[in-house]
């Protein structure tokens, strides 16, 4: 009986250690929590960091808040942000987007990764976006009445998903950096809304800025639109992309560029990129026929692939993942194992061939 009683007391004691009771734990009411939906990090130099956050609507339908604090560390900045209200607590368990400013991205992901991993609230599956410029400028951008940065970024994410692309998460970016030394992330920037549909002249718009290439300890490289399209062609995520063709416009319907090495004996002498894809006509100038559009599209895509590979070679960073395909095309296993890819890649001659078939859209019959 005494043993049973002692066991019951021990289990009751351990239940008390679970932190679920209001007396001994940090219990908080839902009404006093402001969920943070966007968190941005900027490096201010001298080891200081600016943490900017955008919350959702408040418990009593208050509009979203954008807040910013600078401190020697991220957690210190988070503590400072908490000072804005003694009643409501910023709640980081539902952060939808993690933004890194350009300067912060140049220092690598370790600091952000450390903060997220140590935090019991945040998750590594949070989509990571690189901001061209400062993240706090995006978080605080005047987007219009009751439009938060989270909603704007959500719209961008939905557009990407329609094209079959998911924004890389912090986990994927950190894994890529650790595994391969690079990671590709979606880039965004804030632009003045002047000349757009927004009526407020002081409003700003969050727009996609292509792709950002992260490398440990180096400033991010923002891929131009054509370089990003070249990268998308190589990883098979170009479907749905609109390609302007000097007044006309085509929409890519799929297809993927394949890479293979050109070998002379056991030596790699070149790189061949082949791409066959279909496209639909989105807009056609009256003087353009399908053949001319197809030729122009093929040339445009050739230029995109050439620029993408050229950037990869100039940086000495195979962010297009060409190495595996080249090794797979080796004449034998010995040649594949003997290949010193890092040494040969930067100066490798590249040949690109693209065949584009432009289908008929809902043309006006002339």
């Amino acid at each position: 009986m005494k043993r049973a009683l002692l066991i019951i007391i021990c289990f009751a004691w351990t239940l008390g250690l679970s932190g679920c009771g209001t007396l001994f734990s940090g219990h908080r009411d839902m009404e006093h929590l402001r969920p943070v939906q966007v968190a941005g990090l900027d490096a201010d130099g001298d080891g200081r960091v600016t943490l900017s956050v955008c919350t959702g609507t408040g418990p009593e339908s208050e509009p979203p808040l954008a807040l910013r604090a600078a401190a020697p560390g991220i957690e210190a900045a988070a503590d400072r942000l908490q000072d804005w209200s003694p009643r409501d607590e910023l709640f980081y368990a539902h952060v939808r987007y993690l933004l890194l400013g350009e300067d912060m991205a140049g220092t690598g992901l370790l600091q952000a990764l450390d903060w997220v991993e140590r935090s019991p609230a945040m998750r590594m599956e949070t989509p990571l976006l690189i901001v061209r410029g400062r993240a706090d400028a995006l978080v605080e951008a005047a987007l219009g009445e009751s439009i938060s940065a989270a909603e704007s970024l959500g719209a961008l994410e939905r557009e990407e998903k329609v094209r079959g692309r998911e924004p890389p998460t912090l986990r994927q970016a950190a894994a890529g950096l650790a595994e391969r030394g690079w990671a590709l992330c979606l880039a965004v920037e804030v632009l003045p809304a002047e000349g757009t549909v927004l009526s407020d002249p002081d409003a700003a718009a969050i727009v996609p800025a292509g792709l950002a290439l992260l490398r440990e300890g180096q400033p991010p490289v923002f891929l131009s639109r054509s370089e990003a399209l070249g990268a998308a062609l190589l990883d098979g995520s170009a479907a749905g992309t609109h390609v302007p063709l000097d007044g006309s416009e085509a929409e890519l319907l799929g297809g993927q560029a394949k890479a293979e090495g050109l070998w002379t004996g056991s030596s790699l002498t070149g790189l061949l990129l082949r791409c066959e894809l279909g496209a639909g006509i989105v807009e056609r100038l009256p003087e353009d026929d399908r053949t001319a559009l197809a030729d122009r599209l093929a040339q445009t895509l050739t230029d995109c692939l050439t620029e993408a590979v050229g950037l990869s070679q100039a940086l000495g960073c195979d962010f297009l993942g060409l190495e595996d395909a080249v090794r797979a095309s080796a004449p034998d296993r010995r040649a594949a194992r003997a290949l010193d890819w890092d040494a040969v890649f930067p100066a490798l001659p590249v040949t690109v061939t693209v065949e584009a078939d432009v289908g008929r859209g809902y043309d006006l019959v002339s």
Binding site: E117, R118, M124, A175, A178
Partner: protein, 373 residues
């Protein structure tokens, strides 16, 4: 050992459940650091060594008298002086490793679920529960292990299935770039953790003989290797080998991101809490193993499993001494996280390898030479 007997099924279940605690701590970070993306494959490379160890233990156990654990065999093989000295070391290591397990479990709880807390309250609570359980019967421990095995395996299986969605094949394949040497090296952590079960041979006197020892051994080994491989597969598949080696608890970090159809999430706290049972079982078994070693040194009788808790008669005081040693080790083993990491990654595995892969084969060899084994 009287009627405090354990069936072979219960013994297997208790051993497997107890090994889950060091498995989570050592793998997959240890295997990923050595074998890279081949970590999930490297655990199978530990199979021959673990099989050889199991056969060695079986050979040693055949030399035991009914109801006898491994401890008296040390005296018969090495003599009263050297045998006792070795038993003091084995018993001491069991108690110290129990303390290390307590500390590891407490650190895991504090780091993963209670970041604003220190490990001390958890160490005290777990030590008290382990001592309480060790003062009971071995049969009770084994039965608890059998129940927990089903629970923990079920949870693991669910987590593995949910984690499949986030696996990136590029983190796992192709394997042609992984050197065979690295795969073999990657087997070391799995061999060290699996080999720790050899210490439970000190409790061999409580186990009923198995009618199908080969099948029992094969099923335990297969279950262990499949679990270890799945751990590595899901963690390295999610994070990549490089990131896995940087995270403190990669498996639990992976769990934090798992959602059930986007509706339920944050499973890691519940899973971390469940893993405390594995720590408790391992710690308790180690306290009993250390007790078996030291009571042989002092020629103490088998402790009564059903006696009153506060009774110190018939050698039960030794369990309190062992618990105090374990508690002292838990409190002092890591003044900082760097020191704890050193213990986790280097010192504890090295010492365990010394006692298991060094000491037990030596026992067998000398026993064979003296025609005792």
């Amino acid at each position: 050992m009287g009627d405090d007997r354990v069936t072979p099924r219960q013994a297997r279940a208790a051993a497997f459940t107890a090994l889950l605690a060091p498995l989570i701590r050592v793998l997959p970070r240890g295997a990923a650091a050595l074998a890279g993306r081949g970590a999930w494959l490297s655990v199978f490379a530990a199979a021959p060594a673990l099989l050889a160890l199991a056969l060695l233990l079986r050979s040693l156990c055949r030399a035991l008298a009914p109801g006898e654990g491994l401890a008296p065999l040390f005296l018969r093989v090495f003599g009263p002086v050297l045998g006792r000295a070795l038993l003091v070391l084995y018993g001491g290591w069991s108690f110290l490793y129990a303390g290390f397990v307590l500390r590891g479990g407490a650190e895991r709880l504090a780091a993963a679920a209670y970041p604003h807390s220190g490990p001390e309250p958890f160490i005290l609570a777990m030590l008290a529960l382990s001592l309480l359980a060790s003062l009971g019967t071995v049969r009770g421990l084994a039965r608890t292990g059998a129940v927990l095995r089903g629970l923990l395996l079920g949870v693991l299986l669910l987590m593995f299935l949910l984690a499949l969605r986030d696996l990136d094949p590029e983190n796992l394949f192709p394997l042609r770039d992984v050197r065979p040497r690295d795969v073999l090296l990657g087997a070391l952590p799995a061999a060290t953790v699996g080999g720790a079960a050899a210490l439970f041979s000190f409790l061999a006197g409580y186990a009923e003989p198995s009618s199908r020892p080969g099948r029992d051994l094969a099923s335990l080994l297969l279950c262990y290797l499949l679990t270890a491989s799945a751990l590595c597969l899901t963690t390295v598949g999610s994070f990549g080998a490089g990131l896995t080696t940087r995270l403190s608890y990669p498996f639990f970090t992976m769990l934090r991101d798992i959602t059930l159809f986007g509706a339920a999430q944050r499973f890691e706290a519940a899973v971390i809490a469940l893993w405390v049972f594995s720590d408790l079982l391992l710690c308790t078994l180690l306290l009993r193993c250390g007790n078996e070693a030291w009571r042989t040194v002092f020629a103490l009788p088998v402790p009564e499993g059903d006696g009153p808790l506060r009774s110190l008669r018939r050698g039960r005081w030794l369990l309190w001494v062992g618990a105090a040693l374990a508690g002292g080790c838990a409190a002092l083993v890591s003044p900082s996280s760097e020191v704890f990491r050193l213990w986790t990654d280097r010192l504890a595995p090295l010492l365990m390898d010394l006692f298991v892969w060094g000491g037990l084969p030596l026992l067998w060899l000398v026993g064979r030479l003296r025609k005792i084994v």
